[in-house]
């Protein structure tokens, strides 16, 4: 019906408003098939609102959304069997047993996964007959994940999938998501866990105040800034005037020079060239590369300036 070249998610200039509040403010993004895209952002950044629009729960106030090439509102019923949806919470009858719910959703699917396998994989065997409202938060999350996956969806939306899970369940979930990708399933997930995004995501979209602050692969996002701290050990008490004109530098302790800022290869050569130029004896070098967390924090803390990596 739809070729493999159609994007899993195609969002153009989407705006979502709740009364006077603008939750999503002109977001565009594209998620190719068979990849994992992570939406990163603080609470209130607009991640869930954007997801709601993609899942067809509400119409965007402006802009267009295409999911697997289809309109999620107008073509809702035709699209739903191809999607797996995990809400942030709830979505299950409190009086229904975990196994009952999973089997109910399996019975909706044309070609469901083996429910027994899912129950074992997600560690739900012991609570299979337990009613949903008696499950712990992590167990409820795992059941919701199983329900999202049981219909063999082509595209999965996961809203903070590992929230409330313990470490073991989190790793199982990550493994499942990696298996989904290996099977060619597309995944769009929201998270505010940076290690989750760094480990799972092929592409990251960082959202801030309803807008896209940056997009790229984790490597691109962290490499965009290159090295952000270079420490040089050399003779103490060097006159830094010449270097200070071009870089941010300080002698943090005698003979320890810290050069900060976004340092690309050319800048590094320039710094070391300066040390060579003043005949200093460099005895040690250390550098620190930015992590996704640094990128995220620097982006989400800024409120007005436009970010270089933003689209």
């Amino acid at each position: 019906m739809v070729g493999g070249d159609v994007a899993a998610v195609e969002v153009r200039d989407v705006v979502v408003r709740y009364g006077d509040t603008t939750a999503v403010d002109g977001v565009s993004l594209s998620a190719p098939r068979g990849r994992v895209l992570a939406l990163l952002g603080h609470n209130g950044a607009g991640k869930t609102s954007l997801l709601q629009v993609c899942e067809g729960f509400r119409k965007p106030d402006a802009g267009t959304v295409r999911i697997l090439g289809m309109d999620p509102v107008a073509e809702h019923d035709a699209l739903m069997p191809r999607l797996g949806i995990m809400l942030q919470s709830g979505g299950v009858y409190p009086w229904a047993a975990a196994g009952e719910i999973l089997r109910l959703f399996a019975s909706f699917a044309a070609n469901p996964l083996d429910t027994e396998m899912l129950i074992d994989r997600l560690g739900l065997r012991a609570v299979e007959k337990t009613r949903f409202r008696r499950l712990s938060g992590g167990e409820q999350q795992r059941l919701s994940l199983a329900v999202a996956l049981v219909g063999r969806p082509e595209l999965v939306f996961l809203d903070e999938p590992t929230a409330g899970m313990d470490t073991e369940a989190r790793h199982t979930t990550w493994q499942l998501i990696e298996e989904l990708r290996a099977d060619g399933v597309s995944v769009l997930l929201t998270t505010h866990l940076l290690d989750e995004a760094e480990r799972l995501a092929d592409d990251v979209v960082i959202m801030r105040s309803g807008q896209v602050a940056a997009t790229g692969t984790p490597a691109e996002l962290t490499a965009a800034a290159g090295i952000d701290l270079l420490e040089v050990r050399a003779d103490p008490g060097l006159d830094l005037t010449g270097l200070k004109a071009r870089h941010e530098v300080a002698e943090s302790s005698p003979g320890e020079y810290a050069i900060t800022g976004a340092l690309d290869t050319r800048a590094l050569a320039d710094v070391l060239g300066w040390f060579a130029g003043v005949d200093a004896h460099v005895t040690a070098l250390s550098s620190r590369r930015r992590t996704l967390e640094d990128v995220y924090l620097s982006l989400t803390r800024q409120t007005t300036t436009t970010v270089g990596a933003a689209k």
Binding site: G56, M80, G90, L104
Partner: protein
Amino acid sequence: MRTVIARQIRMELVLTARRGEAVVLAMGVPLLVLLGAGLTHATNLPTDDRLGFVVPGVLALTVMSTAFTGQAITTGYERSYGVLKRLGASPLTRPGLLLAKTAAVLVQIVFQVLFLGLVGVVVGWRPELSHLLPAAGVTVLAAAGYSGLALLLASVLKPETTTGAATLIYVLMLSVGGIMFAAPDLGTAGWFLLPLAAHAEALRDTLSGGGSIPLSIWLALGAWAVVWLTAAARKFRWE
């Protein structure tokens, strides 16, 4: 799609049976009223044929308790738990979910009416089965109106408020709806204000009296169905 809806109907019925208070409200109260008011002289009735008055009223009451009270409460909570949202976004689809819910309510009503009717017959009520068709017709109209009002309440109120309001309306209707006592005589306007009284009277006219249903009752219950279903269709919220 048929299997999908059938599975959902089954789930709805299993979950209803699991909730004790729903079963008591739907079966226990009508049964108590039937036996209490039908077999003893605990209340004053405008007729000597106590069973002929009480049994049709109890049948009307159970339709209201399932289609209105029960449905309003469960739908309100299912909405707040995100169940409607999640199921509507499954291959079941939203129309499928509504269809399954309607079918589940109808199945419950059929079972409850059969059971209570049978109890009535056992204790001595003799219904005019030849008038079953108009009785069934007026029951479908009543159930449609109740469902509309139930879905409307569940969409505009919080679940706790819905539960309170639906229970209050149930108790009010039980007291003034002409089930255990005669309904207040408000003339034709009464049928429009008290659908339970109108439905009970229609069932009495047909099943106990072997007569026909006054046009004003058809109109009253028809108006309830149209008004509340239209309002529900406009205001219904999935989340």
